[in-house]
């Protein structure tokens, strides 16, 4: 109907079909540079199924990666594929994708329901179909009671949920969420996390970006760590920690009598150092985190110690990045 010469997937010639053998998301040696700044350099990953957390500090390249996927940016080199199709200048794969941008700005003058219906119709639904879908997704993110209110009156957490709902209206197979938890209060955070986990259980491929490790860990164990445009680590978060065992770790034990506990803990071979924070807290240093964690319960039970809490104080993204980059952040 419209002479769009470079467009792939014209209805008249051939319908766009997803390549079922290809991974849902594939980056093959993708680099993206803005002038002299490399936002992504040689990233190669393939993701299919489950919830994946994309972790990185600000400017690590998370948003660039998502924008490449959404065809907003053109890769300087390498290939980006969604369902086996290059998304640059070709919006065809988006019929199977839901995207939640990080921008806070929404169409404040619309009601949540209208917003989702309008954008649902861009998937080719009729008004009735879109209304039905909108009611479904708004129920999914538990916004049914406020769905006829203007988005401008919503709190930040509600707006995030509206954005997530709008991305789900086409029942997508791939859902991309750019910083969905940013700026939300704990309650909204929990709701959104449950929604994402639910999506993962439904067998969708979900990509979530964040710069806070423990948030991601509450949702999924499958993580990708980006730093300065490179993939630093990829895989199960616990497995990554195991691999980091060569680096010194700290475990903070909270107990009644730290000195008594220290005597028992000394028996664990892997412990390389100890210090007392105060008389109720003991800090253990080790190079084999997994081993210590596996032996610690037995030592505590045998020694009849009362331990109120075990905490890894440096177990956040920052310290992992410090280890991974050898201290050069």
């Amino acid at each position: 109907m419209i002479p769009d010469l470079t467009q792939e997937g014209k209805a008249e010639t051939k319908e766009w079909k997803p390549d079922l053998t290809a991974p849902v998301v594939m980056f093959d040696r993708v680099s993206k540079s803005y002038g002299r700044i490399n936002a992504l350099s040689g990233v190669s990953i393939g993701i299919s199924g489950g919830v994946t957390g994309i972790l990185g500090l600000n400017g690590a390249g998370k948003s660039t990666m998502f924008k490449l996927m959404m065809g907003k940016l053109k890769a300087s080199s390498g290939a980006v594929r969604l369902f086996g199709t290059d998304p640059w200048k070709n919006p065809a794969p988006y019929s199977r994708i839901g995207f939640v941008p990080e921008h806070e700005k929404l169409h404040d003058w619309m009601t949540a329901f209208d917003f989702i219906v309008t954008f649902g119709r861009l998937h080719g639904m009729t008004r009735d179909e879109a209304s039905k879908e909108a009611a479904r997704v708004l129920d999914f993110v538990s916004l049914t009671d406020v769905m006829h209110k203007k988005i401008g009156q919503f709190s930040k957490g509600m707006r995030q949920r509206v954005k997530i709902a709008h991305a789900l209206v086409n029942d997508p197979e791939l859902i991309i969420l750019d910083e969905p938890l940013q700026g939300c209060d704990p309650l909204a955070r929990t709701t959104i996390m449950n929604v994402i986990k639910e999506l993962g259980r439904m067998g969708r491929t979900v990509l979530v970006s964040s710069h806070i490790l423990h948030e991601i860990e509450r949702i999924t164990e499958q993580i990708v760590i980006l730093h300065r445009g490179r993939v630093l680590a990829l895989g199960n978060s616990h497995a990554i920690r195991e691999m980091l065992d060569q680096h010194p770790h700290k475990i903070l034990l909270e107990c009644d009598k730290a000195r008594n506990l220290a005597k028992s803990v000394m028996d664990i071979n892997e412990v390389t150092g100890m210090s007392f924070v105060n008389e109720n807290q003991l800090l253990i240093e080790t190079r084999h985190l997994g081993a210590v964690h596996s032996r610690l319960p037995k030592v505590i039970v045998d020694g009849k110690h009362t331990v109120k809490g075990i905490d890894n104080p440096d177990d956040d993204l920052q310290s992992i990045l410090v280890y991974l980059t050898g201290g050069f952040l």
Binding site: I2, K74, Y94, F99, H103, K105, T118, F119, G124, M125
Partner: protein, 441 residues
């Protein structure tokens, strides 16, 4: 969902209505839309007030040939004495047994008797008051040497592209100023407000305010991300946004033209209760303004996509178009350079329609500028020029005497409309190419 739409080229109608409807609702929530539209209505209302004021002011009747004066004070005005064959300058010579006419009978007594549609190289006029027909010799009665006595001969000079009027003298020399003035003023107003007020001002201001940010504002605020993450090509987004834009501007333009057509049609001069022939003019003004606003809208929207400060490009184009509008109007439509603009084609459309619906318009202008043949010699340049009738200058300023296309009026109207549509399509095509290859942060 039972059937998944895997092709982005399916269900285009649904996507189009969704975006167009969205765009119209978005316009509705913006104060600037209302501010611009209300400002437009206020400005046009002010012009209409001046028009109504002009209608209520009667043009003063002038005795152009001076035959209402009784020079010899014998009670008979000069015109009556000429007809009766007595000496108007001698108090002893006067018609006997005839009641003297009041002086007012000899004012505006020789109005135009022009019926030709295309009055080129044709004989026109009738000497109502008889001051030509009563002349003694044939050569006195045929001063313009076209072998027809007591007529007015209109000649079209193909080199100067101007009409010249040769009169036998005393023919149609005392026209009704008010009758002519009201008609000419009405037409000048319709064309002036139509060409400048609606086609140019509305045609360029509405797009400047409403279309420049159509894509750009969404891009800079980040809300464009939602729309571009859907299975819909960017060229389509641009197209459907433009449909939403014309969904707001076109009804506005049409209703303004309708209201003005009704006001001026009922209030305007003329025998009938409504000036039916004006409807065609207003329709052409409305069509021209709609097409022009569409072309400008697409271009300005493209400027907005191209560059963050696209409004600067839009303003520069607006100034160029203003210059072209003045060129087109000053040249009476006959200027090739006007075709290098959008407004030039828009005005051509109105000029063609004027030739279709007011076929006597050019004649009316020439007659009004000739004004009965009275001439004055300028003390400044020594040039002799006719004293024109009221509003004739204004009508000649705002009317295009030709479409500049050397085609029949209907053909040039169709051509101008097609060119405008092609311009809109081209700007959309270029705009979507720019949009498609734009990296959006």
């Amino acid at each position: 969902m039972s059937s998944r739409m895997d092709s982005i080229w399916s269900k285009l109608d649904r996507k189009a209505t969704a975006i167009a409807e969205f765009t119209i609702r978005q316009y509705r929530t913006r104060i600037s839309t209302w501010a611009v539209m209300i400002a437009g209505i206020l400005a046009l209302s002010m012009l209409v007030l001046f028009y109504i004021d002009g209608l209520n002011t009667e043009f003063e009747a002038i005795d152009n040939d001076g035959d209402s004066i009784d020079h010899d004070s014998d009670g008979y005005p000069t015109g009556q004495e000429i007809i009766e064959g007595t000496d108007p300058f001698s108090a002893q010579s006067f018609p006997v047994g005839v009641t003297p006419d009041p002086a007012s009978k000899w004012i505006n007594e020789d109005d135009f008797d022009w019926d030709a549609i295309e009055a080129n190289d044709m004989s026109q006029g009738y000497d109502d008051d008889g001051d030509c027909r009563t002349r003694t010799t044939s050569s006195q009665r045929d001063q313009n040497d076209n072998n027809i006595e007591c007529d007015v001969y209109m000649d079209w000079n193909i080199y100067t592209q101007e009409h010249t009027i040769y009169s036998d003298g005393g023919v149609d020399e005392d026209p009704d100023e008010n009758l002519y003035g009201q008609e000419a003023q009405h037409r000048a107003f319709v064309l002036g407000i139509g060409k400048f007020g609606i086609v140019y001002m509305l045609g360029i201001m509405l797009p400047l305010f409403l279309a420049t940010g159509l894509i750009r504002e969404e891009m800079s605020s980040g809300t464009m991300h939602y729309m571009l993450a859907k299975p819909i090509a960017r060229g389509e987004v641009l197209l459907y946004r433009m449909i939403g834009y014309i969904g707001v501007t076109w009804p506005y333009i049409m209703s303004i033209c309708l209201v003005l057509c009704l006001i001026t049609g009922f209030a305007g001069p003329g025998e009938s209760i409504f000036r039916w022939s004006d409807i065609g003019i207003w329709m052409s003004i409305s069509l021209s303004a709609m097409l022009v606003s569409l072309v400008y809208g697409t271009i300005f929207c493209g400027f907005g996509i191209l560059w963050k400060n696209g409004v600067i490009l839009a303003l520069l184009l607006g100034v160029w178009e203003l210059g072209m509008a003045f060129v087109a109007i000053a040249s009476g439509g006959d200027s090739p350079i006007k075709f290098f603009s959008v407004i030039g084609w828009g005005l051509t459309l109105v000029d063609s329609a004027t030739m279709i619906f007011w076929p006597d318009n050019n004649t009316l202008i020439e007659v009004g500028l000739w004004g009965g043949g009275q001439s004055v010699t300028s003390w400044f340049s020594g040039e002799e020029r006719f004293v024109s009738l009221p509003a004739a200058e204004a009508l000649s300023t705002f009317s295009g005497s030709t479409s500049g296309l050397s085609l029949a009026p209907w053909a040039s109207a169709v051509t101008a409309s097609l060119v405008l549509i092609i311009q809109a399509a081209m700007s959309w095509f270029i705009g979507q190419i720019v949009f498609k290859s734009k990296e959006i942060d």
